[in-house]
Symmetry: C2
Subunit: 125 residues, 2 copies
């Protein structure tokens, strides 16, 4: 079977159908779902954890690689990873003694598209 | 003078130099700034207001056009618009009796780029 494209299934979530903010006003339903994802991204530690996972080879990192560089306890790191996982931005899998986290591109794609405003918007002043 | 391109000035802010999460781990400084912008986006009413302004002709809307469709008081709408303005995602200008809000593409661009994860990340599973 061929690999699936990086896009979400429209039936799975209203945010899957999200297009740039400039196209049309967001529905209340989509706004609630997207706001929850942005809330998960609204913490500097979570953003750094997400970028650590994303920039690791294959978009995956062992939890053992994620604590270095943070002056935070392991439970605090684990809490932030849980928030990212619950928001669908990371997935996790246990292999042997370690948990591995993986970036969920499909969940980030609609957020990126939403904020991708065409150049004409700024040039039109 | 020719119109400026849709990009921010690197000296203006660390987030101006932001590239996709997959390229390298975010610096603590960039993460703080980006998290503040995502915090402004983490409310459904603010996302809907932003999309109303962005989808208006020319990426600009009168405040008089922004209350319809919300079951909220004018002071509440004004508060959310202020949060978006203070985060640099909207700018405002008074003309006659009305205030006009405009989308700030330059502030949204680094957020969009950050979350634009290449397809290979998902396909590599």
């Amino acid at each position: 079977m061929s690999k699936p494209p990086v896009s979400c299934q429209p039936q799975a979530s209203p945010s899957c159908e999200v297009i740039a903010l400039t196209r049309e006003p967001l529905s209340a339903e989509s706004a609630i779902e997207l706001a929850a994802a942005f809330k998960a991204l609204s913490d500097p530690v979570r953003l750094r954890l997400l970028s650590l996972v994303a920039s690791h080879s294959g978009g995956e990192a062992c939890v053992c690689d994620l604590s270095a560089g943070f002056d935070l306890s392991q439970p605090t790191i684990s809490h932030h990873l849980k928030v990212l996982r619950e928001a669908g931005l990371l997935s996790s899998e246990r292999r042997g003694s370690w948990v591995y986290y993986r970036i969920e591109s499909q969940a980030l794609a609609p957020l990126s598209r939403l904020l991708d405003i065409p150049a004409i918007q700024a040039g039109a002043r």
